[in-house]
């Protein structure tokens, strides 16, 4: 039984059609890594799944835990168990990190003690009373995003470039946090959390082993395969080369 089913999804941003016909099926416990050239619509897909109103769904639908969430407001999707870590979250003046963590803990049903415990783990205790994302470094933004996710305890975890702009020391900490969120430390049968990770550079894959990789190309999921293989192909042959090879293997693809 799938946790997420994206069916024939078309999405526009402004007047521009970014996603044409995306199909994606994720089972509980599965983690996908999503590759694709710049502008191929990776972030668009995650934003559409979480319900960002700036990304307009013009066709198809999004099913989460058997519920059609296509037209649900973001906070309702969050309550059902979808969580996202943004690549570039906004700064909000006067709203402190601790305030946002408390909103998140309410979703996850956690206490103040858990907030403190996890904040310590993510090395964010010094930032609790600072305005959210104001003057945070690249690594701090990512740690803060993952900390928020931990407190929401979602079943489907969307990670938009969790490793971009992060130094090596932080990548290890972030990798560890992602593994925990996605229950990669448990054996495959008992995993229930699912995830979609966008990674441009692929650094995070040194720490997190995903089950599948998908390439988003030209507004569609062009191929799905083993993450290591696909990353190697992209590195050696580029997206174009990779695509040719992929399409050969997928006789029935468009």
């Amino acid at each position: 039984m799938g946790i997420l089913r994206v069916v024939n999804l078309g999405v526009e941003v402004g007047e521009k059609k970014i996603l044409k016909n995306v199909n994606l099926y994720i089972k509980p416990g599965e983690t996908f890594v999503l590759f694709g050239p710049n502008g191929s619509g990776k972030s668009t897909l995650l934003n559409a799944i979480i319900g960002n109103p700036a990304y307009r769904v013009v066709s198809g639908r999004i099913m989460f835990k058997k519920v059609d969430v296509t037209n649900l407001p973001t906070n309702e999707r969050v309550k059902l168990g979808i969580g996202i870590a943004f690549q570039n979250p906004p700064k909000i003046n006067g709203v402190r990190l601790i305030d946002v963590l408390r909103y998140c803990a309410k979703v996850g049903g956690y206490s103040e003690d858990t907030i403190m415990e996890l904040a310590e783990k993510m090395k964010m205790t010094d930032h609790l009373y600072r305005e959210i994302n104001v003057g945070f470094s690249g690594g701090e933004v990512k740690r803060s995003e993952l900390l928020q996710l931990m407190l929401m305890n979602p079943d489907l975890i969307l990670l938009d470039e969790p490793d971009s702009g992060v130094d090596l020391e932080n990548v290890a900490l972030i990798g560890e946090a992602i593994n925990e969120l996605l229950e990669r430390d448990k054996d495959a049968e008992s995993r229930e959390k699912s995830g979609v990770i966008i990674t441009h550079q692929g650094h995070i894959l040194d720490y997190v082993d995903a089950d599948y990789a998908a390439i988003l190309y030209n507004g569609r999921i062009a191929c799905i395969g083993d993450p290591g293989d696909i990353l190697n192909q992209i590195r050696s042959e580029g997206y174009e080369g990779c695509m040719v090879r992929c399409l050969k293997n997928m006789e029935n693809s468009e």
């Binding site: 407001p73 973001t74 906070n75 969050v78 906004p90 003046n93 709203v95 998140c104």
Partner: protein, 365 residues
């Protein structure tokens, strides 16, 4: 103390709304004026004097020397209007070296007067520390005008904070006239909060800052439909190494706001910063930010930033992705917008401000 106020027939709920705390254990002194009459005043702390200005004139020969010292009688029709025999107001004075962290409460209540004329004198003597919270309000349904003249004297190395919460009505016109003299090494912090509807407020306090002195003006202003608020602050940096900071957060929800700020560098080595931020919450209304800087020496550091906008959709969406509904997210952002980090303010005053903001938030959204 609080029972006494109840007997005066003052609407207690109304006073609470303005953040007025009458409990003697939480205040170092209190003053309550209804129309022209000083209903009660008391000091609960050795180092501070609290009385009506009429009483102070009788008690001290020298008080008259402070009267009209930094405000001009002929400044405008309102100063002239208030220059009458029956003018009353508070006299609050921290004695030299007295450190009075617990705030003094000063309340001006317009009950039935057509025109309430007030003249206040506040003195923080050398090396003293004084905190005042002032609530001004009117009896529901009463129409009238409040003219409030205030002269503040911050002596050498003294610290004075003045937090004023206005809570008028759509029938009240308010014309404060304020001047502050800050002597060498002294500091003055003003917090002005206006969140309720009002017919008109027009105020432009001026601080004269001597060597090594500091002035900070913070204001949080909400203009609801039909309210007109013309509010600003001016700092004249007269002495070397003096500094000024003027910060305003204005919100228009149908009302009209003019947010003024003016820093004048009249001495070398002075520093000043002006920050006007405006938030438009409805399609109607107006915010006009007028920041002005003036330098008369080359080695001054004066800057300003002004920005007006609406709530960013991106911020609402971000908080919704953390479980808040659209309304909750909007409310959290507006609340954040009104949050000014006020340094050097006692906890009791921070709490009073927070409480007022919380109440106002409900009306706003």
């Amino acid at each position: 103390m609080s029972e006494e106020y109840g007997e005066l027939g003052v609407d207690k709920r109304r006073l609470r709304e303005v953040g007025i705390e009458l409990d003697g254990s939480k205040r170092s002194g209190a003053y309550l004026q209804e129309d022209q009459e000083a209903k009660t005043f008391a000091s609960f702390f050795e180092g501070v004097e609290v009385m009506s200005i009429q009483e102070a004139m009788k008690k001290y020969e020298w008080v008259k020397d402070y009267f009209w010292k930094i405000l001009r009688r002929d400044q405008d029709e309102y100063t002239r209007e208030a220059d009458t025999e029956d003018v009353n107001g508070y006299f609050i004075r921290a004695l030299p070296d007295a450190k009075v962290e617990i705030p003094v409460e000063a309340c001006l209540y317009l009950k039935k007067a057509e025109k309430q004329r007030v003249h206040n004198i506040v003195i923080a003597e050398e090396n003293s520390e004084l905190n005042i919270i002032s609530g001004c309000t009117s009896h529901p349904g009463v129409a009238g005008m409040h003219i409030g003249l205030s002269e503040f004297f911050v002596k050498k190395n003294a610290k004075l904070s003045f937090t004023m919460i206005h809570s008028w009505d759509t029938t009240i016109e308010v014309r404060p006239r304020t001047a502050i003299k800050i002597e060498e090494g002294g500091s003055f912090i003003s917090n002005y909060i206006l969140l309720n509807p009002v017919k008109l407020v027009q105020t432009y306090p001026t601080a004269y800052v001597e060597k090594d002195g500091t002035v900070i003006f913070n204001s949080i202003i909400v203009a609801l439909e039909d309210s007109v608020v013309d509010s600003g602050a001016r700092a004249v940096l007269m002495g070397e190494n003096s500094s000024a900071e003027i910060v305003s957060r204005t919100i228009s929800k149908g009302g009209k706001v003019i947010a003024r700020g003016h820093i004048i560098g009249e001495a070398p080595e002075v520093k000043g910063h002006l920050e006007c931020k405006g938030l438009m919450l409805s399609e109607s209304g107006l915010i006009h930010a007028i920041p002005e800087l003036e330098a008369k020496y080359p080695n001054v550091e004066l800057s300003h930033e002004a920005a007006i906008g609406k709530i960013a959709e991106e911020e609402i969406f971000y908080l919704m992705s953390r479980g808040l509904s659209r309304d909750e997210a909007t409310s959290a952002i507006v609340r954040g917008f009104m949050e000014i980090e006020i340094k050097g303010l006692p906890q009791a005053l921070k709490e009073a401000i927070d409480r007022t903001l919380e109440i106002a938030e409900k009306d706003l959204l």
